[in-house]
């Protein structure tokens, strides 16, 4: 029963990356909230202000990395939650595929939006 498992590396890396992204996200999410709710008031956000921030390459790349790590951390978390419920076999592979696709679309759309914001597109 407990003896035959699939390849071992995946679980290890997923666990490790979940933690590494967490460390980054603690800082990034905190920064994001402070900047857009306390430093800049959310109600006063306009495209101009957004563009001014996104024009700085440092801020732009931070936001893109933020998006990628958040997407991984969140979607991997959802996947873990579903495995907790005993998801396995074909069902599990289908769910993994759907979640990966959702993540890729999210990052793709997010990057597309970000490129609009810094005036590249």
């Amino acid at each position: 029963m407990a003896e035959h498992y699939s390849s071992f590396q995946r679980g290890t890396w997923r666990w490790l990356f979940q933690r590494l992204t967490a460390v980054f996200l603690v800082g990034a999410l905190g920064f994001h909230f402070v900047l857009l709710h306390f430093v800049n008031h959310a109600a006063e956000i306009s495209f101009m202000g957004t563009q001014a921030r996104m024009d700085q390459i440092g801020y732009f790349s931070l936001m893109v990395v933020f998006l990628v790590t958040a997407a991984f951390h969140g979607i991997n978390g959802v996947y873990n939650a579903l495995i907790n419920q005993g998801l396995k076999g074909t069902q599990r592979r289908v769910v993994a595929g759907v979640l990966t696709l959702a993540g890729v679309l999210l990052v793709g759309q997010g990057t597309y939006v970000a490129l609009h914001m810094n005036g590249f597109l």
Binding site: M1, A2, E3, Y5, G11, W15, N84
Partner: protein, 290 residues
């Protein structure tokens, strides 16, 4: 005719009483003792200053009246120092001999009487009645199938325990045939707590993840793996093998640090801590291959 027969029987009975065999004498004595004990028990119930109500889970697929699970109430006398197991034994011996539960050593060593007492996994023999809220609710361990009354099927738990190869298996044996395999005091200290496991299954039953994912090794098995993986006498090759077992998809990674196992362990083994350490060991050994 009839008178004769009666006479005959009477004579026979008389003879038997006179020439009572040792076995019969013993049986009689036993019966008398039994009667006395029963009398004593009802006296106990009267004498005891307090009585406790036990609500015990009953189920038996082989008895029609017990096919539908239910709770039975038993009134037992309370005495200082009484454990839940004492109360169960009293209820079984006094009221219902069909009340079924596992127990053996009565001193938290054999690990056979892990029960779900007042909503928590505890050892019946180690739990004092005074420490509980009354009435006391006793159920079989959750997340394991009930065979009868308080007895659960432990087969799956044992399978997971065996999956981690829970035996000492060093890479190299000492040269001398009768040479001891010595362990440093520091290393012994490291594995000390993990060796305390009595296979009672309380941790596995408390684990929410193990409940959902049947393949998850569970805290007890991982702790067992820890006990040997951390034993320096086994050598690095064996440790790698052991890490490979516990770092499978349904090994250590399924632990979500809910601390349920650590809280219920009757031997106070820091299970979560051991699982976490194995996670770090597994990551380290994977990084080494790069």
């Amino acid at each position: 005719m009839s008178t004769q027969v009666t006479e005959q029987t009477e004579t026979e009975t008389e003879e038997q009483t006179e020439e009572q065999s040792p076995g019969e004498r013993r049986r009689e004595k036993k019966e008398q003792l039994q009667r006395e004990r029963e009398q004593e028990k009802s006296d106990l119930l009267d004498e005891a200053e307090e009585t406790v109500e036990l609500k015990i889970f009953r189920y038996d697929p082989e008895v029609p009246e017990k096919e539908e699970p239910r709770f039975d109430s038993f009134e037992v006398p309370f005495f200082e120092g009484m454990t839940v197991l004492d109360a169960l034994i009293y209820a079984r011996d006094t009221y219902d001999s069909s009340l079924t539960f596992r127990h053996s050593c009565r001193q938290a060593v054999c690990g056979s009487d892990a029960l779900f007492i007042n909503g928590k996994q505890r050892l019946g023999c180690k739990t004092q009645m005074v420490d509980l809220e009354w009435p006391i609710r006793i159920e079989p361990l959750p997340h394991q199938e009930v065979v009868k009354d308080l007895v659960v099927d432990m087969e799956h738990f044992y399978e997971q325990m065996h999956a981690v190869e829970p035996y000492f298996d060093p890479d190299e044996l000492p040269d001398g045939e009768r040479e001891e395999q010595r362990q440093t005091p520091e290393n012994r200290e490291k594995v000390k707590l993990s060796t305390r496991c009595i296979w009672c299954g309380a941790c596995m039953s408390s684990c929410n993840v193990a409940a959902g994912d049947n393949q998850y090794l569970g805290p007890a098995a991982i702790n067992k793996a820890y006990r040997f993986a951390m034993d320096e006498r086994e050598g690095t090759d064996r440790k790698e093998d052991r890490l490979r077992i516990i770092e499978q998809e349904h090994g250590v990674w399924r632990c979500q640090t809910q601390f349920s196992c650590t809280e219920v362990c009757p031997k106070d083994i820091p299970l979560t801590e051991h699982i976490q350490e194995l996670k770090r060991e597994a990551v380290k050994s994977n990084l080494k291959f790069w």
